[in-house]
């Protein structure tokens, strides 16, 4: 029972982290059809940036803000300088972002070495909360991550479904050409989306680099997780990312906890099953 509850809580809080990571990917992927294979490398870069700043300033929040903003700027530059020209050529975009990912990974390895890092969590949230009725306690920081994910989810949902700018984004998802034929500068919208998506992955890297250790190979893992989440949930849907994160997080944790040998197989079997019955993902629209 204890193991069950802990596994569930771990899965749920991990789902919060996955949501933060994948929401940026789904914005970029969903609106702009840009398959950013450097998403995992962005995550890892944010981890290193926020670790460095938090270490220097002794303040976790400065680190998180630095991670988010650095990635926002970096991601926007990658988009404007490398991707914009080839935006509608999926294979080229995939290859360019894969290249960016490899270069980044090697550069980070050269600078930070092969050791694993983990940012210290801020003291104000580094305590444990008792789980009622079980006589056990659970680290509050992980719950804090879940709360952050919920705040970001609600914020994104309000932004996309209730604001004028969000309506332009939805219109862009429906019919990019038609939006531009109405005199709306879709290019500027794209730049903002890429910035926002990169800020989100930057923030996710800062948070995830605190709950989990990171280093060489983390980029590939998190790219895989976020692709899984986005494909399961459905392209460009915030609700879909929430569901996808929940499934990948919780089922992944149960698989790892109870059947560690088959953990990878179980989550991918889930992905294959969902794709077989709903190729557009759980909340995705038919193309």
């Amino acid at each position: 029972m204890t193991q069950f509850i802990f596994t569930f809580l771990n899965g749920l809080t991990l789902a919060g982290l996955y949501f933060l990571v994948a929401s940026g990917l789904t914005l970029i992927f969903g609106l702009m059809r840009v398959i950013n294979l450097a998403h995992g490398a962005f995550y890892l870069l944010a981890g290193y940036v926020s670790w460095t700043i938090a270490d220097k300033t002794d303040n976790w929040f400065y680190g998180a803000v630095a991670g988010a903003l650095t990635l926002g700027v970096f991601g926007t530059l990658v988009y404007v300088l490398l991707l914009r020209k080839f935006q509608y050529e999926e294979l080229r975009v995939a290859l360019i972002t894969l290249g960016v990912s490899l270069v980044l990974a090697q550069a980070m390895l050269a600078i930070f070495g092969g050791d694993y890092y983990q940012t210290n969590s801020p003291e104000s949230v580094s305590f444990s909360v008792p789980i009622p009725g079980l006589g056990l306690s659970y680290p509050f920081f992980r719950i804090f991550v879940l709360i952050l994910a919920i705040i970001v989810a609600v914020g994104l949902w309000v932004f996309i479904s209730k604001t004028r700018y969000g309506a332009i984004i939805r219109a862009g998802v429906d019919d990019t050409t038609m939006v531009s034929a109405l005199g709306i500068n879709v290019q500027a919208v794209f730049i903002w989306i890429f910035f926002l998506g990169s800020v989100l992955v930057g923030f996710a890297g800062s948070v995830g680099g605190t709950t989990n250790s990171f280093g060489m190979g983390t980029d590939g893992d998190y790219l895989l997780f976020s692709l899984q989440v986005v494909i399961i949930g459905g392209l460009g849907s915030i609700g879909g990312v929430a569901i996808g994160s929940f499934l990948v997080g919780v089922i992944g944790q149960f698989a790892t906890g109870y059947y560690p040998t088959f953990a990878g197989i179980i989550t991918f079997a889930m992905l294959i099953l969902i794709l077989a019955f709903r190729p557009q993902g759980i909340l995705g629209k038919k193309q």
């Binding site: 004028r164 019919d175 109405l182």
Partner: protein, 231 residues
């Protein structure tokens, strides 16, 4: 006011050329471009909007050369586009379609569009995908008007609509024309086209075949058969 001048425009898809040197001028009077299916009408509309690249010729609007510009710039130059098939946004409500285009300085407001098409006001909160064909068409026109176009480019607005709706739409559009709205109408429905336009340009096999008055065309079964394939 600026004229739309299309001279020697060629366009197509891949190696297939659809338009073979189109010359056309739209000034104050509304013009209808007619022709059978597959004659290049929509290709021309998309060439004007910069959605389809032209391979030769130029399109100018006033002092602005439209050829080579992005659809965004072309719309900003004053051309309001009502595409074939309406292309309303399924994820947006009726109201959002208009609000995303509302500017403080614009002549057209959501309120004015609702006055022109009261039916849309009743459907304000409905999603684009939940509208009837006629409502979608009204929305597509209202949306284009929100960009304050000096020229309204409509591609087969009557397509697939019931006759009563077509008539209603024709009346609303006639009011607009009476208020000085310039129109380039692409149509297959002669009755609808002639409620708006006296001048009808016939497009066939990617070339302008003739310019006739709508009265003349309506009166002659022979001309209709020749140009439109209907009699």
């Amino acid at each position: 006011m600026s004229d739309l001048i299309i001279s020697g425009v060629e366009a197509g898809y891949g190696h297939v050329r659809v338009l073979h040197g189109i010359n056309l001028k739209v000034s104050d009077k509304p013009v209808a471009l007619m022709g059978r299916n597959g004659m290049g009408k929509t290709t021309l509309a998309q060439a004007i909007m910069g959605i389809n690249a032209t391979t030769a010729g130029t399109i100018t609007y006033g002092d602005v050369t439209l050829t080579g510009l992005t659809p965004t710039k072309i719309a900003q130059a004053g051309i309001g586009y009502v595409p074939q098939g309406r292309r309303v946004f399924p994820s947006l409500t009726v109201d959002e379609h208009l609000r995303i285009l509302e500017k403080r300085t614009s002549k057209w407001t959501a309120k004015k569009v609702y006055e022109l098409f009261p039916r849309l006001a009743e459907r304000k909160k409905n999603g684009g995908a939940m509208l009837s064909g006629g409502e979608q068409q009204m929305l597509a026109i209202g949306r284009a008007l929100m960009t304050d176009p000096t020229l309204l480019l409509m591609d087969e607005p009557s397509e697939g609509l019931a006759p009563a709706i077509v008539e209603h739409l024709g009346n609303s559009l006639r009011d607009l024309v009476a208020q000085g709205q310039r129109v380039l109408l692409i149509e297959q429905n002669l009755k609808f086209a002639s409620t708006l336009c006296d001048e009808i340009v016939i497009l066939s096999n990617g070339e302008i075949q003739a310019t006739v008055s709508s009265k003349e065309l309506r009166a002659s079964a022979e001309l209709q058969n020749k140009y439109l394939g209907v009699a």
